[in-house]
Amino acid sequence: MNYLLTTLTKKQEVDSMIRDTIDKVLVLCFGRASDSIFLQLDEILYKSVREVSKFATVALVDIDSDDVQVYVKYFDITLIPSTVFFFNAHHMKMDCGSADHTKWVGTFLRKQDFLDVVEAIYRGAMKGKLIVTCPLPPDRIPKFHLLYEDV
């Protein structure tokens, strides 16, 4: 798709992306191109990529490709779009008030929200924190029900 950001379809591509992003936040968004919410998320990301380029890299991952299914399982992705944050090949968690701290589920309501989130992740990572708290007020965070394990 031309109007999407760099979409990764192979595990090896994802691996190299993770390993080659040094001292920058890596934003990996898992989703399906046909999903409207994913497209909205992509729109916001596309607008912010350049502004964030000095401290973050953004990439999309197509969930439907077979190669990437390992990651889908590893990151426990059940709802799309899901965004996972990495810093120096370490996974960054964010506490947004929901039960799942490991990823960001859903889209961002505004471009500024996305920028705030990435900035918070970057600041926390530079200080050596693996988990950060979300700077957004709860009304701006998309809600979802997390499926419990073994369900």
Partner: protein, 459 residues
């Protein structure tokens, strides 16, 4: 809560305290055992909590900084420049080691000033003491090295002391003769003596230094530079040359002009013997010493060959030097080593300076740019090096296995992230096994009804 008598002993330590343990009634979290904190100088029963109190932290920092300034001012100075210790001053030079709780006296120190203190600060017991102190009072274990002397520094200092000793021993007898001469002479002599102990590098630097400061006394300097040049090459046989050269020198006074070709000297093959020229009184003494020292070291080496060699070398030098038309002491030209030495010195300084600059800049840049405590810092550094090597083409890019997974903390995770990865891999394996098992019965067989089957079996 029963309050026990605070222990008046200053040196009470937690682990060595046996009596109070029996009386101790641990109620809740607070221990009733009193300890003395050396930094705050107060008895407290807060146990390990005490070290985190802000008052204690303040007291500790001032305490350590006081001791550290003492170390810096006194000990560090003498570490770099050991000076002979006079017995009358010995009584003043004491150091109380706060970590080991004992007073280091200078009573029996034949070494230079504060020898006992330096020896103690470099010792293993002191290191233990420092460690335990820092652990007990929460000083920060990374500061350990600022309170002790490393082995390398200590060995350097010991060497210096030995040199001083030997210098003192050797220089004592000739002090009266050499006194009226310049300090330069003394300095050069000490360097001559020192050359037997130090390695080549030291010789070089000392040579550069002494030759640089030597301009007015040109005759002396020739000798000295020659001697030191000979030192650079080899120590053993050259000293022999020095020893035997006296006689030679007396015979070949014409050798003098030859030695202005010091440029040749530096480039020429190491076995050149120095020739000793004019029988000046001071020089005689000087070269006399040369013999003495040469004798000391000449045991076991053959003399004839080296003598012949030195003779041969002498003639070679003189011929080549005479060919060289430019500049003589007699013509008044500046000595060739002066400009050369200046260049060498400058270069050395520059290189050192540059090297220091570069390294310090690099360090500064590193530390100012990125926090070393950031997430994945170690990994990032390694990866940067890897990438750089790949760029240069030195390191062949080795692809990580298809099974590489990043560091991820799972959603319902209890335990570290490594555990979660292992868990996942374990689950993955079971999944794969299941898949393969499903695949095995791939042969599809047509449905045979029971009646048909029974008919078959019956038949």
């Amino acid at each position: 809560m029963p309050i026990q008598n605070p222990n008046p002993n200053k040196k009470k330590k937690k682990h060595s305290n046996q009596d109070d343990d029996e009386d101790d009634t641990v109620q809740g979290k607070q221990r009733t055992q009193f300890e003395f904190c050396k930094a705050c100088r107060l008895n407290h029963n807060q146990g390990r909590r005490h070290i985190y109190f802000p008052n204690h932290k303040k007291a500790l920092s001032s305490f350590l900084s006081r001791f550290q300034s003492k170390l810096k001012n006194d000990v560090a100075f003498y570490l770099k420049k050991p000076m002979p210790l006079r017995p009358e001053h010995a009584a003043l030079n004491r150091l109380w080691c706060v970590f080991c709780d004992f007073d280091i006296l200078e009573s029996d120190s034949s070494f230079a000033c504060s020898g006992n203190a330096i020896a103690h600060l470099a010792s293993a017991e002191h290191l233990k003491g420092v460690k335990s102190f820092l652990w007990k009072y929460g000083g920060g274990m990374d500061r350990m090295d600022s309170f002790r002397i490393s082995e390398s520094d200590f060995t350097k200092w010991e060497k210096k002391c030995k040199l001083l000793k030997s210098e003192a021993a050797g220089g004592g007898s000739h002090g009266s003769l050499i006194g009226p001469l310049n300090d330069i002479h003394n300095e050069s002599k000490s360097e001559y003596v020192n050359s037997f102990d130090k390695n080549k590098l030291d010789c070089l630097t000392s040579d550069v230094k002494c030759s640089n400061s030597v301009v007015p006394l040109q005759d002396h300097t020739i000798e000295r530079s020659q001697i030191s040049h000979s030192k650079i090459c080899t120590v053993g046989p050259q000293i022999l040359h020095a020893g035997t050269g006296v006689g030679l020198g007396a015979r070949t006074p014409n050798g003098l002009p030859g030695f202005f070709g010091n440029q040749h000297y530096t480039h020429s093959v190491p076995k050149e013997g120095p020739a000793y020229s004019c029988p000046n009184d001071g020089k005689q003494v000087y070269s006399y010493e040369g013999i003495a020292i040469g004798d000391r070291h000449s045991q076991g080496t053959s003399s004839e060959e080296s003598r012949l060699q030195s003779l041969q070398n002498l003639t070679q030098i003189s011929s080549s030097a005479q060919e060289n038309g430019g500049g003589n002491v007699h013509s008044g030209a500046p000595p060739p080593w002066f400009s050369a030495a200046e260049k060498i010195q400058l270069d050395n300084k520059l290189n050192q300076g540059l090297g220091d600059l570069v390294s310090s800049l690099g360090e500064q840049m590193k530390t100012s740019k990125l926090n070393p405590k950031r997430v994945g810092a170690a990994w990032a550094e390694r990866r940067k090096i890897e990438l750089e090597l790949e760029k240069r083409g030195e390191l062949v890019r080795h692809d990580f296995g298809a099974d590489w997974l990043p560091n991820f903390g799972r959603v319902w995770q209890s335990g570290s992230r490594k555990d979660s990865r292992k868990e996942f891999l374990g689950e993955n394996k079971t999944w794969r096994k299941v898949d393969s098992q499903i695949e095995k019965p791939s042969q599809f067989q047509p449905y045979i009804s029971k009646r048909m089957r029974t008919d078959n079996t019956a038949e």
